[in-house]
């Protein structure tokens, strides 16, 4: 780790100001950033901690019936308090281990957009809105490939609004070592249609599986997927599984998510 300064603002405005400094970087729960710093792979001059900003923490319901999660809310709190959206709460409860869940934040996870992370699947499958200090970004426009998002330099995720589905489930098949998603599929059924988001599998990061959505719109049952198949070519291929294996798992996990949706 290289030396850095640390600030702990208590308002979003102060945080935004602090982040205007060149080489300043936002610090959420540090579960991704701190290991990066320990390996000397990044050299920020200042870390701006967001976890002391009261207005960025907590879970509540909006008038529009969305679950609203503050950008600096740890996974454990979402697991406990997002009961209005059981699929989301369950997803949060299976991220990492208790230490990770007590520190890691939804904002940090979505900002990082790891191709194997869980939250991106929840945000995309629910058509969530990512609220930043500057604007509102719909999930379909937010994710732009692995580790890439619509966020500008210094922009902070202050809140995420998840529309609550009629039914949903996140089915995660873990990579044996990291226990991130080797393939994770979130299926969410809304009055106006089914959304299926897949994480862990694609070279492009989280994506919506349109064919599955169409099939499930016609018939919300695992059988509806029988005739579908995905190609392995654009899928991640590594030590833990080939592209073909991942493509196969996407279908299996989607079917299981549909069966378990509640």
């Amino acid at each position: 780790m290289y030396n850095f300064e640390m600030t702990r603002p208590s308002t979003i405005a102060d945080a935004v100001k602090a982040l205007q400094d060149e080489d300043a970087q936002a610090l959420g729960g540090g579960q991704t950033l701190i290991p990066t710093l320990k390996q000397r792979l990044a050299m920020p001059s200042t870390l701006v901690s967001l976890t002391g900003i009261g207005e960025m923490r907590g879970v509540c319901m909006s008038d529009a019936g969305e679950v609203c999660v503050g950008g600096a809310t740890p996974h454990a709190v979402v697991a406990r308090e997002a009961s209005a959206f059981p699929g989301l709460a369950a997803l949060a409860s299976h991220i990492g281990d208790p230490a990770v869940r007590n520190r890691g934040t939804v904002g940090g996870s979505l900002a990082n957009n790891d191709p194997s992370a869980c939250y991106p699947a929840a945000a995309l499958a629910s058509g969530a809105t990512i609220i930043t200090n500057a604007r509102e970004i719909v999930a379909d426009e937010y994710f732009q490939g692995m580790f890439t998002t619509a966020l500008e330099e210094g922009e902070i995720i202050t809140e995420v609004r998840f529309p609550v589905p009629e039914k949903s489930h996140y089915e995660k098949f873990v990579q044996p070592a990291s226990r991130f998603a080797l393939v994770g599929v979130m299926v969410a059924k809304y009055a106006d249609g089914v959304r299926v988001a897949v994480t862990g599998a694609s070279e492009e990061g989280v994506f919506r599986w349109a064919e599955a959505e169409a099939a499930l719109n016609a018939n919300f049952s695992a059988d509806a997927l029988d005739d579908l198949s995905l190609g392995g070519d654009d899928m991640i291929s590594d030590l833990h599984g080939s592209g073909d294996y991942r493509a196969h798992l996407v279908k299996v996990m989607t079917g299981r998510a549909v069966s378990k949706a509640a």
Partner: protein, 796 residues
């Protein structure tokens, strides 16, 4: 000394809670990195990021000029000192000695694996040393890496130019049996052939390696605090081979050590570097490995590619085992890398069986990967896995029950001592009895119902089992000397009775998870009839303990424990003399019971404490006949190896849609001979099975073709976690005592890791077969993706 004779509370056979765990669990352990010396400096190693390359130049001037930097070392600084040697000379089949390229303190001229250190920086702080390490400028001309053993043999590039081959040795065991074995296989009615890989493992001790050297310029004495399983061996290697520091000027201290599993047996270059740096700077120098360095530089384990053939009669009677193995030794010969794939592997290739013909050929191969050496089980897991996989396969081919085929060929209890066709003499065992227990423990009768349940859910279920026998309690020095060992493998103990009647027992074995501080006192307490808590075990410091050889090969109790017994016997002899004097009787009349020395047939007695006090306050003492004091030392060299054995079973459920294997049941029936502390033994078996299941299911060490380690962190290298493992059933009652050591003990540290992979793989194959998939073998680790690929391969 069977346990039912135990008279002492907390003596032999008591399931005493490990006393050392309290300090480990409450953060009061003292590990090498916890030792902070006045004025200490910090070393950081500069490591190669290519697997094979010529060092054209190293420019350290920028690094030397950086803040806090005290010295920068390169391979050039150690060109004149010795290499880190192999501890065992293996001769090839043609009689030629093995190839032993020098393993320098720091790479010189060439780097040979990713992580190979070619420079080291010492600075006031660790951060300064890291900054300066990044400023060492090196010009390395990268060469093609040799990572795969087959191409290494076929004549890819050379790992060591000076030896002109990548083959370290080509060993035959027993060479004289080769022709007979070949002929037997040729004539056999049935031959099962299996090609398999025993996957490479990263040891992953919880505590990474660390070394701190402290040169005292006043006395010229060096102290090395280091994470070692055997401080005297480390001292011997440094003194006699590497740096030439006289043994009497080098003290090696291995304090609390957080696990070793073999990887801390060996001397590593970092130890020599900090010693040399401390001498140069006249200040303590500390190095603590990062986890990333541990992945790249701790000696790895296993990594065999094997073809095994089992010839048998149509009725399943074994005729011959023939094995050809390529054993990866990595880029340099680590201290026990040459004995592990040979004498610790080939000699076990008859397994538990009366098979008359065994021949083993092992070629050890240099590659541009981290050195490979003994890892929990060391050679014996490879033997057990090969044998017990091919036996299972033969049973399937012959349509025989896998237990029946094993029982048919088991050595029977009345055949011991048994001279195996692979050259060992097994002293005791009862393989059928362990198998009997196993069948009950795993509830074999209920399996078909459980399978039906699984199938109802769309899952497959398999049951796999195996037998094992291993050789531990290493090792008889006379025998291994003939076989090429460059060390003796006795051990030593000093029992010191203090004046007030409590004891310090100084032992050559080192405890880094084994529980010696609890188990050894149980033995002494039993013998003397005193409270085990009045006995303290001292280990891990060459300045305090007699010259012993440390801990590995499940040897601590069988070898060092025997030395403890011998030393305690001497204490008893002398104490009886003192007691006889005190009681005005003859020595021969004195009996020791419950800590009291009494004159047979009378009520005259003195307590152990009174005798101790007399020994140190020798008033009215017959100094012409008895020396004052009560302290004895014994060295013990075993007459033979010990042969733990047993039978393991694993039941798995397999999700055919994902390839995910879940272990539903696991049973281990072990014969460890007599048991000193059953709870510690159970714990050792649990840990060993955890490692064996890790190897079988998830641990995957992968190098790419450029020699980059792909599984270089816990993001990609999977270690077993609690929820990967089932609740085990473990039983080690009814052992057959070892016939040649005083405690009748065999050793239990490695069995779990040795025996478990075969039953896991046998179970998964059984599950796949039950699902109509004709998969007869797949290589470990059986990760979901690999299982799925195997089940969905063409033609399956």
């Amino acid at each position: 000394m069977p346990k039912d004779n135990s008279t002492v509370e907390g003596g032999i056979g008591a399931a005493t809670v490990r006393r050392e765990d309290i300090r480990f669990l409450t953060g009061d352990g003292q590990y090498t990195d916890d030792i902070v010396l006045q004025g200490q400096t910090h070393a950081i190693f500069v490591r190669s990021d290519v697997a094979n390359g010529v060092i054209k130049s190293i420019d350290t001037s920028a690094a030397e000029a950086m803040p806090g930097v005290l010295a920068v070392f390169t391979g050039e600084d150690f060109a004149e000192v010795g290499g880190n040697p192999a501890g065992w000379l293996i001769n090839s089949r043609d009689g030629e000695p093995m190839k032993e390229p020098k393993r320098p303190v720091l790479a010189h001229g060439k780097v040979r694996h990713v992580g190979d250190a070619y420079a080291a920086v010492v600075a006031e702080t660790k951060e300064q040393a890291m900054d300066a390490a990044a400023a060492v400028e090196v010009d390395i001309e990268e060469l093609d890496a040799v990572t795969d053993m087959t191409s290494a043999i076929a004549g890819g590039g050379l790992v060591h130019d000076e030896i002109e081959t990548n083959i370290c040795f080509d060993w035959g065991w027993i060479e004289d049996n080769r022709a007979a074995t070949d002929a037997a296989i040729k004539a056999a009615p049935h031959v099962t052939t299996l090609e398999l890989v025993n996957n490479r493992l990263v040891p992953n001790a919880m505590e990474p390696r660390a070394s701190t050297a402290d040169y005292n310029k006043g006395t010229g004495e060096y102290t090395l605090y280091t994470t070692s399983q055997n401080p005297h061996l480390t001292r011997l290697l440094i003194s006699a081979f590497v740096l030439g520091i006289p043994e009497n000027k080098l003290r090696v201290v291995a304090p609390d050590v957080g696990g070793g599993f073999g990887s801390k047996i060996y001397h590593y270059g970092e130890e020599a570097l900090v010693l040399a740096a401390s001498k140069k700077l006249k200040r303590p120098v500390k190095w603590t490995s990062s986890r990333s360095e541990a992945f790249l530089t701790d000696a790895h384990g296993r990594d065999h590619v094997t073809k095994i053939e089992l010839a048998c009669e149509k009725d399943g009677t074994f005729i011959a085992f023939r094995t050809e193995t390529l054993a990866n030794v990595g880029a340099y010969l680590s201290n026990f890398s040459t004995v592990t794939p040979t004498f610790l592997h080939g000699t076990l290739m008859a397994g538990n069986y009366t098979v008359p013909n065994v021949y083993v050929n092992v070629k050890a191969v240099f590659t541009n990967t981290a050195p490979v050496d003994a890892y929990r089980g060391a050679g014996r897991p490879e033997a057990t896995y090969s044998i017990e996989r091919v036996v299972d396969m033969a049973a399937r081919e012959l349509g025989m029950d896998p237990i029946k085929i094993r029982r048919k060929n088991f050595i029977k209890p009345d055949q011991f001592p048994f001279a195996s066709a692979a050259g060992l003499e097994y002293d005791s065992g009862n393989y059928d009895r362990q198998m009997d227990k196993l069948e009950v423990m795993i509830d074999r009768d209920g399996f078909s119902a459980r399978r039906a349940e699984s199938e109802k859910k769309g899952m497959l279920r398999g049951l796999g089992l195996n037998a094992y026998v291993e050789a531990c309690g290493i090792a008889p020095s006379n025998l291994i000397g003939i076989l090429g060992a460059r060390v003796g493998l006795y051990d030593a103990a000093t029992v010191r009775v203090n004046a007030t009647g409590n004891l310090a027992v100084m032992v050559g074995a080192h405890s880094h998870g084994q529980g010696h501080e609890t188990a050894f006192p149980q033995v002494v307490a039993e013998m003397l009839g005193i409270d085990p808590m009045s006995i303290e075990i001292v280990h891990g410091d060459t300045a305090k303990i007699p010259f012993g050889m440390g801990t590995y090969g499940s040897r601590s109790l069988a070898v060092c424990g025997s030395a403890v017994v011998r030393a305690t016997e001497k204490i008893i002899v002398k104490a009886k003399k003192i007691a006889a004097h005190m009681l005005a009787a003859a020595d021969t009349e004195i009996e020791l019971r419950d800590g009291q020395f009494s004159v047979a047939g009378t009520n005259k007695s003195v307590s152990f404490g009174e005798v101790a006090l007399k020994a140190y306050i020798p008033h009215q003492f017959p100094i012409e006949e008895i020396e004052p004091g009560l302290e004895e030392t014994a060295f013990y060299d075993p007459a033979n190896f010990t042969y733990p054995s047993g039978a393991y079973a694993c039941e798995v459920e397999l999700d055919p849609k994902t390839g995910k294997v879940t272990i539903e049941r696991f049973a281990a029936a072990d014969d460890f001979g007599n048991i000193i502390n059953p709870m510690i033994v159970t714990g050792q078996v649990h840990g060993g099975i955890g490692q064996g299941i890790g190897q079988a299911l998830i641990e995957q060490t992968a190098y790419d073709e450029n020699g980059q380690l792909l599984s270089a962190s816990y993001m990609d290298y999977a270690m077993p976690r609690a929820d990967d493992l089932p609740f085990y059933q473990v039983n080690h009652d009814d052992g057959t005592p070892c016939t040649h050591n005083p405690l009748g003990v065999k050793g239990c540290g490695e069995a779990g890791a040795i025996a478990s992979p075969a039953s896991v793989v046998n179970a998964v194959i059984d599950a796949m077969q039950s699902g109509g998939k004709n998969v007869t073998h797949m290589d470990m680790p059986l990760t979901p993706s690999r299982v799925w690929e195997a089940m969905n391969a063409k033609g399956v």
